[in-house]
């Protein structure tokens, strides 16, 4: 019974933890402009993150090493250092977007100007990182994030033309008023939103925090392989809601209030309250994960002691890194930059940085020196090579497409 509960908890937190501000914003924007014509990208992204999380979780559990220790060992200090700078900055950008997302969600609930909420959100994230136990912070935000299921409920209540939605999803075309370059730009953004590097830093370092061993592999695989696809279905529901409400009116989503409008239209005030709780939980959870990831990456590269399982005094530089990262995120947001715009850039740059972490993990997952008999099987490797090509193509195309399309405008 206890085991069953453990599995259920793991799966549920994986669903809630899958969604963050990047998924919310990108899916809603894409839904409002392309309908479900890009839903296939969510499928590609979800399979990819399942593969990647499963590999990095296995590497962490079997070898006892976290991602950036391995990257440095495998690539050498110089290449790994360049890798660290890129990964750290993009993670910082994602952290900024998540903290901004918390503030925007709290603004929706309270009508209080987001700039008053930003320092509060930053402080709350820091307090939780400083004080709360790892398992609690992971489970509470994951479970509360599940309330985003209300997007799926809202879709049914809106009573859409299902055949049209299915038609868009199953035989995707580029809508007449959008160019091909913009279509592919948003395809990369959606891919980057589903496969963010911080998820992997957090997942593999979290495996060390929770002291996983080979015995925990089957449960972690189940969490990932069930939880992430269900999270992906919620992503598509967000896009479908936006498609139903905004696509016919040719309104492009550019604010959080628009993202939640379909839910409010379908379910009234109660549904709106539920969705706001879900967004606060999802962004707060992701802010914790990205905040921790900033400490994890730097500490692992430089060989500092790290981890929530140590008291802050024993991992002082790890905690100091997270404090500085949070202060930078708050400072950037206080310039009145639009968190939605920050999010849109963060998902695209996530796609750009993805090969930097994917390649070393793939190599080490094949190395019997680290993995013993738990090296990748043939099927995993075949899929992993296909994804290597996809990830490289997305990474190389992202910035040229961003310039060519004026960031999708």
């Amino acid at each position: 019974m206890k085991r069953l509960l453990g599995v259920a908890l793991g799966v549920l937190t994986a669903i809630g933890g899958f969604l963050d501000i990047g998924d919310l914003v990108t899916n809603a924007v894409v839904g409002s402009r392309f309908g479900l014509n890009l839903a296939w990208v969510v499928v590609v992204g979800v399979v990819g993150i399942c593969l990647f999380a499963q590999m990095s979780g296995r590497v962490a559990a079997v070898s006892g090493r976290a991602t950036f220790e391995i990257i440095r060992e495998r690539l050498g200090p110089r290449t790994a250092g360049a890798n660290l700078v890129a990964s750290f900055l993009i993670n910082l950008l994602t952290l900024t977007a998540e903290v901004g997302g918390i503030a925007l969600a709290l603004q929706l609930a309270s009508s209080v100007e987001p700039r008053l909420w930003i320092p509060v959100a930053g402080l709350a994230v820091w307090l939780v990182i400083w004080r709360a136990k790892f398992s609690i912070l992971e489970n509470v935000t994951g479970l509360l994030g599940l309330t985003l299921v209300v997007f799926a409920v809202a879709l049914f209540l809106l009573g859409p033309d299902w055949s049209e939605l299915a038609d868009q999803a199953l035989s995707p075309t580029v809508p007449g008023d959008e160019g091909h370059a913009v279509y592919w730009y948003y395809a990369i953004a959606l891919f980057g939103a589903a496969m963010t590097p911080y998820e992997v830093f957090f997942f593999s370092s979290g495996a060390r925090e929770e002291k996983w061993t080979v015995k925990d592999l089957s449960q972690s695989r189940l969490n990932v392989l069930v939880g992430f696809p269900l999270g992906g279905i919620l992503s598509v529901a967000i896009a479908a809601c936006a498609a139903v409400v905004f696509l016919p009116a040719s309104v492009e989503v550019s604010s959080l209030s628009q993202i939640v409008l379909p839910v409010a239209l379908a379910g009234g005030k109660l549904a709106l309250a539920v969705v706001i709780v879900g967004i606060v939980a999802a962004t707060f959870g992701a802010a914790l994960e990205t905040g921790l990831s900033s400490g994890y990456t730097l500490a692992q590269y430089l060989g500092w002691s790290w981890g929530k399982f140590r008291r802050p005094a024993q991992a002082a530089r790890f905690h100091l890194t997270m404090i500085i990262a949070l202060l930078v995120a708050v400072a950037v947001l206080m310039t009145s930059v639009d968190p939605i715009k920050v999010t849109e850039f963060s998902v695209v740059f996530s796609a750009v940085a993805l090969p930097l972490t994917y390649l070393p993990i793939l190599l080490v997952a094949n190395d019997p020196e680290y993995m013993g008999k738990h090296v990748n099987g043939r099927v995993t490797n075949a899929l992993a090579l296909v994804y290597l090509v996809v990830i490289l193509a997305a990474s190389l195309a992202a910035i040229p497409l961003m310039i060519a399309t004026g960031a999708g405008s």
């Binding site: 079997v62 061993t213 080979v214 094949n366 190395d367 020196e369 090579l385």
Partner: protein, 119 residues
């Protein structure tokens, strides 16, 4: 001399012919205890790749062939990679010059050296 002086350095035979580039330095921990705590690493040899100074990403150490395409590509880029013992190195300036009768060794580890996780 520090490690960076060696990495990427061109390697020449005694005659001056270019043999390749240093892609890695192999260290051995079998020396006396340094101050009674740590073993001082000893330079065992240099890994020389004939065509490129980029990393072999560890594939030179084992006979691992997966993931197939990546392994094949890396092995192809670094085909002909060999190990020279440090005792065969005659001089290190900007370039590394080898002794007249240097010998090429296989870069793979002997099978017994593999470390397997105990868990």
């Amino acid at each position: 001399m520090i490690l960076s002086d060696l990495l990427d350095a061109p390697v020449r035979a005694a005659s001056g012919d270019l043999l390749g580039y240093v892609v890695d330095v192999r260290l051995v921990l079998d020396g006396p205890l340094d101050g009674g705590i740590l073993v001082t690493p000893r330079v065992h040899g240099l890994l020389v790749s004939p065509r490129t100074g980029t990393s072999f990403l560890g594939y030179e150490r084992t006979d691992v062939r997966s993931p197939a395409l990546l392994a094949r590509w890396l092995r192809w880029r670094h085909r002909g990679t060999f190990l020279v013992r440090w005792s065969d190195v005659a001089a290190v300036g900007g370039d590394v010059t080898l002794a007249q009768d240097y010998r090429r060794w296989s870069p793979t580890f002997p099978e017994t050296v593999h470390q397997h996780p105990t868990t």
